[in-house]
Amino acid sequence: MEVNTAARSDIDADRQDGFSPVEEFERQPVPPRARLGFGSFLGMYAGEHTAGTELMIGPLFVAHGVSAVDFILGLLVGNALAVLSWMLFCAPIAVRARLTLYYQLEKICGRTLVTTYNLANGVMFTILAGAMITVSATALGVWFDFRMPGLDDATPTSVGWVLAVVVMGLLFAVCAAYGFKTISKFANIAAPWMVLVFLTFGLITLRRFIDATGTVIESPGDLWAMCKTAIWKGGQPLAGRAKFTFWHVMFFAWFCNMAWHIGLSDLSVFRYARKAWYAIASAAGMYIGHFMAWICASLLFAYQLHIDPSNTDVHPGPMTYEAAGLTGLLCVVIAGWTTANPTMYRAGLAFQAIMPKRSRFAVTLATGVCATIAAAVYPKVTMRLLDFVAIWALILMPMGAVIFVDFWLIKKFGLRSNWAEWSGRSFNWAAGLAWLITLTVCTMLVQFGGIVDGLAARGLLNLSPERMQWLKETFTIEIFFVSLPGWFMTAILYIGISKLYQSRIRPAVEERR
């Protein structure tokens, strides 16, 4: 998952070589002199997608009962689709408009709606930072031997755990508030090391599997057979988890960075690209971080389950310590820290945009404290990280659909693009309603089974059990899949509501002018 803004500093640094670093081009297109070559993007994406989140995401695939074929093929295809999304959705708009996501959104949606978007983004970043604190705190569990939350624990399981989270979280928060740039520099130094440590987790755990299963590896076929029968065995998922198929893996790999590619957050990055095809550089991040790193992290948990099927706890600290000793523990702490640092900082910036009179230090610190509290009292978010990432994608994706339609299609329907800028209004109701309705409908589709049961319990729906079952199976969409129809829904709604809205508002605006 992409969260490490520190790695983006290479691009930023390149920018600084040619002109003043204060020129961020926040409200103007990036000029030709500031544009960057392919290498800058390759380095950025290669570094930023191997983060602390991978240590949780990889194991959770195993918890969802994925099979070897579904896992490997799903990751290959899903990551390819993610790269194509950057290339075909994000970069073409970025190199034409050359504006940040936020300025582009402001022109279309108005400042008030952008503020709402910032708030949603800030909340999600805060929760993610909390998950990273949880990951790092599991490293302390190795030394202090307190009881850590299990896969199904929604609340803290020991005082030691809460203390570890609080210490780790406050340390991260103070660092993010005081020394964001220092930690960013450190993150840049740590990135190549971290990628290789992930690789070593995989190599070491493969050997341990070979020894534990007594497999003789004489050909790639033998290795693949072991993967299918001992590592990613498929079968039933752990209790309370959805069974993952190829489609789950593919959609998760595609959509876990949906906010960035289809959601168009990376407009802010690719506005510096000389050519749109530079977005193929995202493949470096996908196939190092979301392929190699996920596979290696999943091996750690699969081995733990192989040795003790009753041990379903996903604790990166103990798992990596078993495999790589102190280096593994350091990797957990550094991965969590270098991910939480920019995450808290970005969340802080989002909130500061809403409360501009507060200092960035105070807001970042407060954000860090909120993330710490979330991590300490509700570890379930971390244990449900796959679901959380899918929800994040769903929440931010509609704004990408709005920009896409506004940029490419809306004029073909006789409507005006950049409506908020043109009309001088601070809230484009067409975009706001398209966002809200999409989120409501998608949430209802995900929760459809529960809604049907609820209606039946209140006597509002009187159907036979077979009919109820059919209804639930037909209309319920899992959170991992709902963003795709959601994108089309937003696009259609935005055009439809704009037809009504622009025709009513335009005369008033023209009169006023």
């Binding site: 500093s9 961020e24 926040e26 740039k181 960013s184 090391w193 280096t327 970005r346």
Partner: protein
């Protein structure tokens, strides 16, 4: 000095990964691998840290998104 630090950096990354590959091949014990990885880790952070300090690359690090969310 720069070349020395760069070589040391590459060497540490090789020392980080090669033992785990050797362990996969059955040539080293896990305890030895863990020790070598720890040495490689120290070597990497020292060499990369010094490299940044001496050659000034650390000044290149600064958040790209700083101005983006505050608009």
């Amino acid at each position: 000095m720069r070349n020395l630090l760069r070589s040391l950096g590459w060497l540490s990354l090789v020392l980080l990964t090669a033992p785990s590959a050797a362990y996969l091949a059955g040539w080293l014990s896990l305890e030895t691998v863990k020790l070598l990885m720890l040495i490689a880790t120290v070597l990497w952070f020292v060499s990369a840290g010094l490299n940044v300090k001496i050659n000034g690359h650390a000044d290149r690090a600064h958040p790209m998104t700083e101005g983006e969310l505050t608009q």
